[in-house]
């Protein structure tokens, strides 16, 4: 075996820190690949219903709020920057900066979920829900003289609009759960960075949580135009 400096973070079955770091990195990338495939199923369901029933998507997307969705995109992108910057800070041993940046990232996550809550609440109040729960309120979408969920500016409601809201809630819901999980992980490394666990010798957890957070951002980059910006 090659001789090497002993590091307290080196596990017994690895020879060198490089080997351990590379192994961890490959592990996290494989995990991200499984996440992509998990969401891939939902993207497939989206693609099939959108290709075969574009009228449902054209009609229903009008009920999503582009401004809120766009704001959330900007928030997530900015939090991705603070996260990437946090990784840099941990690599360079800038502890205070690391704590600040992780807190900002966490704040971004809170902002995203807050806006998500506002959007979900509006859907809930208007009965724009998936499947059997789809029951659009007349007063919110048109008033008497039109069928439920039918207004002059929205056009005639096609059949099976509930499918869009099913896909919308599943995609954004699963994504939201991932944001929450990411926030939990960021909270955990925030605590550890306050305790001073990270530095140039050891920043692996910050790096890996960062990769996860960027993946969550990456999925939203696709969700936003596919759900909100249909024309």
């Amino acid at each position: 075996m090659m001789s090497h400096e002993h590091s307290p973070h080196l596990q017994h079955h690895f020879d060198t820190p490089e080997q351990q770091f590379d192994a961890g990195k490959l592990g996290i990338w494989l995990f991200l690949a499984t996440e992509i495939l998990l969401f891939g199923g939902l993207f497939c369901a989206y693609a099939i219903y959108r290709a075969n029933h574009p009228e449902i998507f054209l009609y229903a997307h009008q009920f999503l709020d582009k401004v809120l969705g766009g704001t959330n995109t900007v928030i997530l992108l900015c939090s991705s920057l603070t996260m990437a910057w946090a990784v840099r800070a941990s690599q360079l041993g800038q502890r205070k900066l690391l704590i600040t940046l992780l807190s900002l990232t966490l704040l971004g996550g809170c902002g995203f979920m807050g806006i998500k809550y506002v959007e979900y609440k509006a859907k809930w109040e208007h009965g724009l829900l998936p499947g059997t729960h789809f029951a659009p309120h007349e007063e919110s979408t048109g008033g008497p003289g039109h069928g439920p969920g039918e207004t002059p500016e929205h056009g005639k409601r096609p059949s099976n609009v509930q499918l869009f809201f099913g896909i919308y809630f599943l995609m954004t819901g699963l994504h939201g759960l991932h944001v929450l999980a990411g926030m939990g992980a960021i909270g955990w490394i925030l605590v550890r960075s306050v305790k001073g666990h990270f530095g140039p010798e050891y920043f692996t957890p910050v790096d890996f949580v960062g990769l996860y957070w960027h993946l969550v951002d990456l999925i939203w980059i696709f969700l936003f135009p596919l759900l909100y910006l249909i024309s």
Binding site: D22, A23, G27, T34, G41, L42, P130, G131, L163
Partner: protein
Amino acid sequence: MTPKNHYLNHTSGFASWAFTLDHKRIGVMYLVATLSSFLLGGLAALAVRTELFSRGPTIMDADTYNKMFTLHGAVMVFLFIIPSIPAALGNFVLPLMLGAKDVAFPRLNLMSFWLWIIGAVFCIGAVVAGGVDTGWTFYTPYSTTTNTNVIATTLGVFILGFSSIFTGLNFIVTIHKLRPSGMTWFKMPLFLWALYGTALIQVLATPVLGITLLLLIAERALGVGIFDPALGGDPVLFQHFFWFYSHPAVYIMILPAMGIISEVISIHSRKHIFGYRFIALSSIAIAAFGFLVWGHHMFVSGQSGMANVIFSALTFSVAIPSAIKVFNWLATLYKGDIHLTTAMIYALMFMITFGIGGLTGLHLGALAVDIHLHDTYFVVAHFHYVMFGGTVIALLSGLHHWWPKMFGVMIDERLGRIAAFLIFVGFNTTFFTQFMLGSHGMPRRYYDYLPQFAIYHRISTLGSYVMACGFFLIAYYLLRSLFRGEAAPMNPFGGNSLEWHTSSPPPYDNFTVTPIAEDPYDYDNLVGDEVSGYKSRTYEGAKA
């Protein structure tokens, strides 16, 4: 020969097992867990066969029967076959074969095992709470409308999926990053190639099963109707989702089995494996093609004619790498020194039974013939010849091959041969008749049948009892060997992959002397005999 301190006795107590990070102990726990599931699934199968012994109600009503075959299928697929070889034998052997101290992520490995336990609790809990009657395939809209415990079962399978993903992820990283510098890709034992191909499928296909099951749960719990036609959804789409995972899953089951056969055939005939590169690359080819053929489960489902034709063509492409392997194993036997140990008998049996399974796959891949055979007992017989005649037989082969390494004891070869004979006779009696049932038109998942099928069902049930006797005999002599078995030498069968370069059972850290990787199938450097075991001359100069 047996070292005083080894992985089985270096610590003791429940916690030393339940929270162990040692891949060998996790492998042993997985072995106990999967074999217990096999017992449960097997008992369900016996109940099903007994019910079918005669026409009309025999020992249970139709609803119980439906729950029973669902139990058999779900337990055998998700709890037993998928984790059996990779997570039990693979976990034990993989780091040893690499000359490594452990897998890359020992904690993840332990988590995988506990996720298996949690998943199993959900699945079996669902059975205790009244069962589930959808069949292991959970086809919609039946699964969305039945009032049995679909949510608990699918949640359990979802968790089992993550257990499987973590095992696969661990293996990929271990093979990439923990290979010693002397062991290049084409110097790896073939079992590792097979496990690598398997792990790729586990990581890349299982998440799609995960999302499928989540969608099914959403369907039942929230009324989201992606797959339910009553809610505007498309049930054929469910089948695409389900088989996108579950066809590659067939290769999760068979690839590691093929890996075991490559090891056992070569070692027990003391002959270098023939066509190493073809066997190794065919594992990867099977893993890759495995992703392209899922639609052959849907030839009569309402899938379009065009998709049927594409999938039929691609299906035949998988036949080739499997055929290549069989021919290479045969060529390995040529001019060898064939020891008919129990492990070897099972490996040879594999070539016959898996051969039948593979060849009948040709009937089912041919579109026009499949229309007739689809969803009949012909399919049931075909996949039992592949899953049982392939995977289970290979598991038995591997179990007998590595048993001395795992527990440091030899098994009773005489009883081993008797059991192998019972299983061979019982298995073929049970399932060959089912080919004929199916080709005469007997549909699967039938509680009752017409008079012309009675004789086949009766023979099949009798065969299953013979097979059960074989398994109880195996259970008896394996358990007995743990207490009364002769101590095993380090290398009883004359293998040269690295797990044979350490003591039986191995020490906690796997190797006391740093192993030296050489061609795993070159046996010229070994000296010794069957009784006292073999030793590699490679270490003679290096001993401290």
